[in-house]
């Protein structure tokens, strides 16, 4: 069965403040694929997401999402950013945040949409959190609420920026399983930025690896090899596999030092008791 191409990049270059971070990217993503976006901090992964959301323009080349130039406010895309403003004082209940994902961009007060919010929370495995205040949720619970906020508009594509950061191993595996269910049952395309590839390996269709100003794409078995990554980074990289198929990538620590001009991407930080805190993204 021929699947629809949902993302298509030709000679694409990304960057911010007039500076190019990566260039010459040619790739496409098909409907219903589970894609991991990997790469060191500051490689331009979030920038790539912002380009697809229409929040940043390509520095060069062309990018098309669902056959069109990306534009802000595309209802076909659900987005879970890396940083959130929720803190211990945010007493608003979960479904009030989730419902904003549906019509929060519209004028006026609007109706509550609690049923839709509850449906989305259930799809995200968080039906029981609907009436809990956001301030009282753990990191894993918050991640599910954000996922519900992204799912409520029934998007065709999900962009998840480091949703696994700050989850312990078991919750990490649970969350990956949950995302995979959404991908397989609803045919949603998922792009997920991650630092650790291992929890994702069993479910991935494709990897977009951004490093050293370039992008490599392909199936995990094609991209995660010593040859591909050595070529990408331009320095010797070794990909090791253990008896259970888990992967360790060695040698890229030095690569980061070769590019001191690359600012590290802001990391989602944790306050006491595992709550998300905000950091400046300027």
């Amino acid at each position: 069965m021929e699947k629809e191409t949902v993302i298509s990049a030709k000679g694409l270059a990304g960057g911010y403040s007039g500076k190019t971070i990566w260039e010459n990217a040619d790739f496409s993503v098909q409907q219903g694929e589970f894609v991991a976006v990997l790469g060191p901090n500051g490689a331009g992964k979030t920038t790539f997401f912002r380009m697809m959301l229409g929040l940043a323009a390509p520095v060069a080349g062309s990018l098309s999402v669902f056959g069109r130039t990306p534009r802000r406010g595309n209802p076909d895309i659900g987005y879970v950013p890396q940083r959130h403003l929720i803190d211990r004082e945010t007493g608003v209940e979960a479904r009030e945040l989730v419902r904003l994902g549906l019509d929060g961009h519209r004028w006026g007060i609007g109706s509550a949409h609690y049923e839709e919010a509850f449906e989305a929370l259930r799809a995200a495995g968080a039906g029981d959190l609907a009436r809990r205040p956001l301030a009282a949720l753990s990191g894993g619970e918050l991640q599910r609420v954000f996922l519900a906020e992204a799912l409520i508009g029934k998007p065709k594509m999900l962009l998840l920026d480091e949703p696994l950061a700050n989850l312990d191993l078991r919750r990490e595996a649970d969350f990956v399983r949950l995302i995979n269910e959404v991908v397989r049952s609803q045919g949603v395309t998922v792009l997920l930025i991650a630092h650790n590839i291992n929890p994702l390996l069993p479910v991935l269709d494709r990897i977009i690896y951004i490093a050293n100003g370039r992008i490599a794409t392909g199936a995990p078995s094609e991209v995660l090899t010593s040859e591909t990554l050595t070529d990408l980074y331009g320095i010797p990289i070794e990909v090791l596999r253990d008896s259970r198929g888990r992967i360790a990538v060695l040698g890229m620590e030095e690569s980061a030092e070769h590019h001191p001009e690359h600012r590290p991407e802001p990391r989602r930080d944790r306050g006491p008791e595992g709550r998300a805190e905000r950091r400046s993204n300027e």
């Binding site: 802000r72 959130h84 007493g91 007060i109 009436r131 906020e149 300027e282």
Partner: protein
């Protein structure tokens, strides 16, 4: 401050005090200001902009003092300076309220400027006192009408931008991706704070702006998890405190703003205590 004694017959008491024009105007202005402060305050609290609101009132002090010096209505000076300060803060950064050192520096400078203007003016003590601590019993009929007009504009604007404002306040990045203009929401909201602050200065003064703009909303946030209910509770607290303050001050020589600040503070403390002990007032129903 008057010869009428308190009688435990609230209706008769109210009739007695409302026979005075200044008391009627105080209740009218106080009511309008409490409603606006309760609503705007809710967003001030969820956006963590309370320091910005506090700073805007101080910036407004310089404007008001300058207006007094020039013989212009101090409310005009207040509006001009708070609006200018608000737009500047919104343009500076997405969440200028976090730039507390820069804002604090401007705040101190403006307060100093205000002191200079006031000292250059011959009616030094009374003017300074009413700007800093409010003088709701001195509100004129014209002030009431102006306050009412400003309130109508604020309420209409908030009804219009309610959803994008809430969205941008709770989840800025997603709101931006969904098409909400974070910049313009920020500018509009700072202007709303500017106008609301200018109105509230008449009642509680520059130094006690927190008592009406922040404390009731912060208490409301402790008591309910739904934004619309939170706004309603915040308005109710602000209203009760204001009415109580004006009512009591009719029988005592003490300032209205003291009573307002005390009531909202006590409600806030009670709300924290309540939350600490029993979670939340409207408990989630277990499925």
């Amino acid at each position: 401050m008057n010869s009428t004694a308190f009688s435990f017959n609230i209706i008769a008491d109210l009739q007695a005090m409302l026979a005075y024009d200044f008391m009627r105007h105080a209740f009218e202005a106080g009511t309008v200001v409490a409603v606006v402060a309760g609503i705007v305050g809710y967003f001030v609290v969820i956006r963590r902009s309370s320091f910005a609101a506090h700073a805007l009132s101080h910036i407004g002090f310089a404007g008001a003092a300058g207006a007094v010096l020039l013989g212009v209505n101090p409310v005009a000076g207040l509006l001009l300076f708070t609006s200018g300060g608000g737009v500047a803060m919104a343009t500076l950064g997405r969440r200028a309220s976090e730039r507390d050192v820069q804002i604090g520096a401007v705040l101190a400078f403006m307060l100093g400027l205000g002191v200079l203007f006031i000292s250059l003016y011959s009616g030094y003590a009374t003017e300074a006192y009413s700007l800093l601590f409010g003088e709701v019993l001195g509100v004129s009929r014209g002030d009431v009408l102006l306050t009412l007009a400003a309130a109508a504009v604020i309420l209409a604007t908030i009804a219009l931008i309610y959803r994008p404002l809430l969205f941008a306040s709770l989840d800025e990045d997603v709101a931006e991706a969904k098409g909400v203009s974070i910049f313009w929401i920020g500018v509009i909201f700072m202007l709303l704070i500017a106008v609301a602050t200018s109105m509230a200065v008449q009642v509680v003064g520059v130094l006690l702006i927190f008592a009406l703009m922040v404390t009731p909303a912060a208490a409301a946030q402790q008591m309910t998890q739904r934004p619309l209910r939170g706004i309603l509770v915040s308005v109710l607290i602000a209203l009760l405190a204001t009415w109580f303050g004006i009512f009591i001050s009719f029988y005592t020589p003490y300032p209205v703003s003291f009573f307002i600040a005390s009531v909202t503070f006590l409600v806030y403390v009670a709300s924290r205590f309540y939350r600490a002990n029993s979670g939340v007032l409207f408990r989630p129903i277990k499925k």
